[in-house]
Symmetry: C2
Subunit: 320 residues, 2 copies
């Protein structure tokens, strides 16, 4: 008989998922008490949270439980490094139906733990409840280690725009999966398990990034957040954006535009930031410029090769 | 036309719920960036998380959106004070259907914010997604202000057992509501909005509590957590547990046992702790003793008036 959440029970599940969790030196009190206690030596904790719901953020036929765990952790850890911080810990809320195999929850947790381990972070607590659909709530924490946080509001005219990581890969994978295909494997894998450039967040902060965020809604959409918060105009130069071969293959097979994947695809959790020209760190590619607003281009505008960008610019919930 | 999540959209909802949020001096970076930044002057952050799902943790016909917000915040803030910490901040994940009135989400948020304000804490971030049923995920944070955390594992033979807050009220309210009644109003209100004794958590820590937790699963069930973690035997003396008049009224009307409400009812988020006899602080009531385990009563056992307790001892998820 397959063990399910109903037969394992809440406390059995908690025991199963906390068994063997690694614990870094940042974890002062781990799972099992009313709350966890995590060290943040400089007295400031970075906090971000995301909620994933089955059928909306993942599908069991497209992603394994392990993949969902990797992705849920990755999107939160990317937010932490986008502040220039070092991720330290996660807490996880999990809901699932009583007939869900217990192994599903255990594999989800392993995915979360393995992704966290990539950056030296630990799972320090959580909550499990019964729900009709699978729900995964992740809250991630980080330490600034004495640095100032890199906000969206610090971009200045004259800065260069640069990015690290991948753009459009997850969106190309989504385009493939929605059409019933499973290849190219590289983009399908990118949809299932993003690979945020974790080390590039703190690296950018140390180099003096004036603003930074992660690309979760799409490059143009997320740059708008920086342009609005900083009250500047940002121009993206498409010739600087190399379109990788697998994206070109998907575009050719689907009739979609490869550059649209790059400009509007979210969920790869690339990092974008602005820097004084001399400060752009290794591993970051310059793809545009920051300017003052004017009559034709008010502050808050993002342009592509100098033109307003007309295509749908990223994903907003409730409206799709 | 009633505005709904579908017409308001994700960014409209975020703007509506973040408008007018108060922000304490602990909040260094509030909502609107990749992550929030919260001060924890002594370099240790206390973290706890809970997930609430419509139909399981609340019902729209029993509780208003505002009540759900108060309760979701309360149960997390209670976990923070049960560590002896001062709550500082919350983040909130929210899921709801596209046809949910936007006002519901705004009122939920107001309930969360008002409960947080009781203890000087602020909402510093969140996430909103679309989901068939309403989901509320809360993660709460606290500062130990230089104190050691009060764990479940510190109870020692010879300690006295004491509690602060209310026991059995929410359970009596639940008994009333499940039978289709709406009174006594005091217990129905207790079910809708718990009133954890927030100040008693840090007060107990300062007084030297050897162990502490909040009562969320029921007094006996939660004392078992302390008895097991501390490897002691805990005995509860029922004559020390006053049964309030409204609980007696509910018991008389339903044929249920009032003391069972007190011993097994969770969700009032009372605090229970153990203290050296001279250390029990004002506002706490002594209700039992801590002893070593022996052949008849192994460590980890909880007894009531010296006898093993046979009734169902609290709530476990997935199995009800």
């Amino acid at each position: 008989m397959t063990e399910t959440l109903g037969t394992t029970g809440e406390f059995g599940l908690i025991a199963a998922v906390t068994r063997g969790l690694s614990r870094s030196e940042d974890v002062l009190v781990g799972p099992g008490d009313d709350a966890a206690v995590v060290a943040v030596p400089d007295g400031r904790v970075v906090i971000t949270t995301d909620l994933l719901v089955e059928g909306r953020h993942f599908r069991q036929d497209w992603s394994s439980a392990y993949d969902v765990g990797r992705k849920a952790a990755a999107q939160n850890l990317a937010d932490v490094v986008a502040m220039g911080a070092r991720p330290t810990a996660l807490v996880v809320g999990f809901g699932g139906p009583a007939d869900l195999p217990t192994a599903w929850a255990v594999e989800l947790n392993q995915g979360l733990a393995d992704e966290a381990e990539l950056v030296g972070a630990s799972i320090v607590g959580g909550d499990t409840v019964q729900s009709d659909k699978i729900i995964v709530s992740v809250t991630a924490f980080g330490s600034l280690d004495g640095r100032r946080p890199v906000l969206r509001s610090g971009a200045r005219p004259g800065d260069e725009l640069a990015f690290a990581g991948r753009l459009g890969w997850a969106e190309a994978g989504y385009a493939v999966l929605t059409r019933g295909f499973r290849s190219p494997r590289t983009v399908v894998d990118a949809h299932r398990r993003p690979q945020p450039p974790y080390a590039d967040g703190p690296r950018a902060a140390i180099a003096g990034a004036s603003s930074m965020c992660d690309v979760s809604d799409g490059l143009i959409a997320d740059l708008r957040h920086i342009a609005e918060a900083s009250q500047v105009v940002i121009d993206v130069r498409t010739p600087a954006l190399a379109v990788a071969e697998p994206l070109q293959a998907v575009a050719a097979a689907t009739g979609l535009d490869a550059m649209t994947f790059v400009l509007t695809g979210g969920e790869d959790h690339a990092l974008v930031g602005t820097f004084e020209p001399a400060d752009v760190p290794d591993g970051w590619t310059v793809i545009g410029t920051v300017a003052e607003g004017n009559e034709n281009r008010p502050a808050g505008t993002v342009t592509v090769d100098g033109e307003l960008f007309a295509s749908p610019a990223g994903h907003a919930h409730f409206t799709s």
